[in-house]
Symmetry: C2
Subunit: 464 residues, 2 copies
């Protein structure tokens, strides 16, 4: 039986923390949603909530989690959630590392559960380059991917995607999707970009047409796409920047975030979450202030942006450390655009729950494969007749099937299959690292994992 | 129980037709080979042979068919077959259309059974562009693919592939492989190609290095690759050519074929077949003469080459018609480099059992998708919001999963995934056409199938 207690979810468009177990079932099945009885809720309180958040309670089910697009349809569920004023996400923390504060959890989304910490492959144009959605799900084990709003807005267009049933249906991906705001690509890919308080004026890199992204319009675009998690428009300063410029930019980012949330809350019919983004360039005081002020928005999750913009890696870590303590402990934290395989545990150690980066897929296509022993440059002559897989210990289909010699041949011959096989390996590697991190947090051995990872690390990232 | 009667296979390196059932079993399993008793053969004669060639005898098992690379290893089996002097192939004709002469059969190869007529996808550089071997086998249903000797010889090199365990192991494809001789690409891709009686002198299109293909060397290269079916070096004249030039070229092709077979039979350890190629430009008398003289080689199969070189389609058909009657009826016939979807039943109607063409895969990548109703050009604006699959009736994973709108988007965005999905559809389409043709031959309805196909045909190919 599914129990729903709408009263405790309806106060401020997010759940009462004491009611974390308000929706639960003994059996996880999309079909069970049909048997839900609204208002049928057991007595709940702190003790019950604590119990349901324990590591053993893996059967807890968010109503949204049980959504199945073929049974209900995205529009129908969105309206249902909107009417109930339920949040789109529920973040369940299963374990926290007492030494570092790293968390292992489950993010319940309208398109399934996502175990955290999680790395999100980047599917820029409604496709993770070179992979079918089946390969992405089965071979890589992806539960959530990232789509780029800028690209989808320009081609095929968010309105066309909306008419096709939303991004999930358009690309036939029934797991979770996070979309960015499009602002970062508008800065980085376009010519003649102008930023004002109004928004970002840019020209399409495809045909030169002029477009304006505003805090409100980027929410509208992402609502049309139907992503599970949307991002607010923010200003991402280049590195380095002065403290004054960084403060002004941060103030604009906070204003835009407020505008985005006002617009979103006035229009949302449910089924989508919106994350604000902490900025503040490389100044810890601004990062702290920005995070604290954004926390007041009561968002379902928070992102830390504006890092990985050319600054030294220790500073990226420092900015994450400055931001995290100001964010609500019960909300997922998404560190945008990171990182190397060695950096993944470092960001988790600083409290990150979600990350994304083009590095695994782009490096794969360029011939750089990740292993526990470091990078493997596949074109090297020493692999010409190497019958071993990229990595003996890797369980990905590429490593279970093909030799380094064959991959090297495909790479040198310019065969598309190389990109597919290499991308499967590198993404699976990233997701496997995250799964190992998660397991160590659950087992209470994350500090050991971190120490071992650091002792192996070649890149010598900054330390906690 | 498996029964083997080596005496009747040992006469002229090909099986005694009366002993077609010499190796048979009630249960097809690679493991059963371990129970074979050499010399345990039942009385065999014409009546028995006729019975075993009947359509219902689907359990007949060739020793080679039961080869499993992981159990035996290619080298071990090759030596075994060589010692027994068994042919690499056995061609079983299950039904012949009494009207057209079209045949439905099974080609038993060292890497599994191939139902004929069959279309062979082209895997130029040890990869069918854009597909994993798993997709090629499971999604397309490929039982035999074609590898290009010219490309593999230049990169990664046949000797490297041999040291990696042969082409099957190198590319992890445990089904059948046919390789061409490399001559055609040496003519068409290279600069400064010189043809003499000795062979084809050419410069690599990769680095300009000079190489020579001789009738003997191309056999050696293909033996190193370890393909199940090898092709002799032939001279493929451009269209049009004079009768005198065509005769001279045909004579050279026949000489080369004889040299190839002499070399092959002196070196073969078994496990590979070699096909000669009928040439003669567009002159029926030369085609007939060439086919009749090559038939004297006693090969395990025969190819018809030198068509699809720019001549009008009715002439291609006419050359096939001229060649086929001179070839042994009990050997597979491979028409090289054809054709369009409409032409497939036309060639089968003229007695072809095997075909290959880059058209389905190349057209797919260029945005041209094949359907029963004709070509679909995916970039057309009318597909922008078309939620239907390429073809409603198609069972390929692309059609079962993705919309025309999504495919169009991927094509316009230059996403690799487009090539993968489009290639799956077009190749599956070709193989499905062949399966339907085969079924109609088995059912005795091929003339109706052909008539229906012709009534639908837009391209109006030549008629039988």
């Amino acid at each position: 039986m599914i129990r729903i207690r709408p009263s405790c979810w309806a106060t401020n468009n997010r759940p009462d923390p004491s009611c974390g177990a308000a929706i639960s079932t003994g059996i996880e099945t999309p079909l069970a949603i049909g048997a839900a009885r609204i208002g049928d809720c057991p007595p709940a309180g702190p003790a019950k909530a604590a119990k349901t958040r324990s590591r053993l309670n893996l059967t807890t089910l968010n109503l949204a989690t049980s959504y199945h697009p073929k049974l209900v349809g995205p529009r129908g569920l969105g309206k249902l959630l909107g009417a109930l004023r339920l949040p789109a996400l529920r973040f369940e923390i299963l374990a926290t590392c007492p030494v570092t504060g790293a968390r292992a959890g489950v993010l319940h989304t309208p398109h399934g559960q996502v175990e955290t910490p999680v790395f999100m492959p980047v599917g820029t144009q409604a496709s993770v380059k070179g992979l079918t959605q089946k390969q992405l799900a089965e071979d890589v084990g992806t539960r959530i991917l990232l789509g780029n709003t800028y690209h989808l807005y320009l081609r095929p267009g968010h309105e066309a995607i909306a008419r096709m049933g939303g991004l999930h249906r358009f690309m036939q991906w029934d797991r979770a999707i996070l979309t960015d705001s499009g602002g970062f690509q508008a800065f980085s890919l376009s010519k003649l970009t102008k930023i004002s308080d109004k928004g970002v004026l840019f020209r399409s890199h495809l045909n030169g047409d002029q477009h304006l992204f505003t805090p409100e319009s980027t929410v509208d675009v992402q609502m049309a796409l139907g992503s599970d998690i949307m991002m607010v428009l923010d200003e991402c300063l280049a590195y380095p920047a002065s403290h004054a410029a960084a403060r002004a930019s941060m103030e604009r980012t906070i204003r835009w975030a407020q505008q985005s949330f006002d617009h979103f809350r006035g229009r949302s019919t449910g089924g989508q979450a919106l994350f604000p983004i902490v900025q503040g360039s490389m100044f810890p005081d601004l990062r702290r202030e920005c995070a604290a002020r954004l926390a007041g928005l009561g968002a379902e999750g928070y992102a830390i942006g504006g890092i990985s913009v050319g600054e030294p890696r220790p500073i990226s870590m420092e900015m994450t450390e400055a931001s995290v303590p100001e964010l609500p402990v019960d909300r997922p934290r998404y560190v945008m655009g990171v990182g190397t395989p060695e950096e993944l545990p470092e960001y988790v150690a600083r409290g990150a729950d979600m990350m994304d980066c083009v590095m695994p897929s782009r490096n794969a296509r360029n011939g750089c494969l990740f292993t526990d022993e470091g990078k493997l440059i596949i074109k090297h002559a020493r692999f010409k007749e190497d019958a071993s897989p990229i990595e003996d210990s890797c369980g990905c289909p590429t490593c279970r099937t093909y030799s380094r010699a064959y991959l090297r041949h495909l790479f040198l011959a310019g065969e598309m299959l190389y990109c597919t096989l290499a991308t499967i390996h590198n993404l699976r590697k990233y997701l496997d690292i995250m799964r190992r991190i998660r397991q160590s947090i659950l087992l209470g051995t994350f500090p050991d994992f971190l120490a071992a990872a650091r002792s192996r690390s070649v890149d010598d990232p900054a330390r906690v």
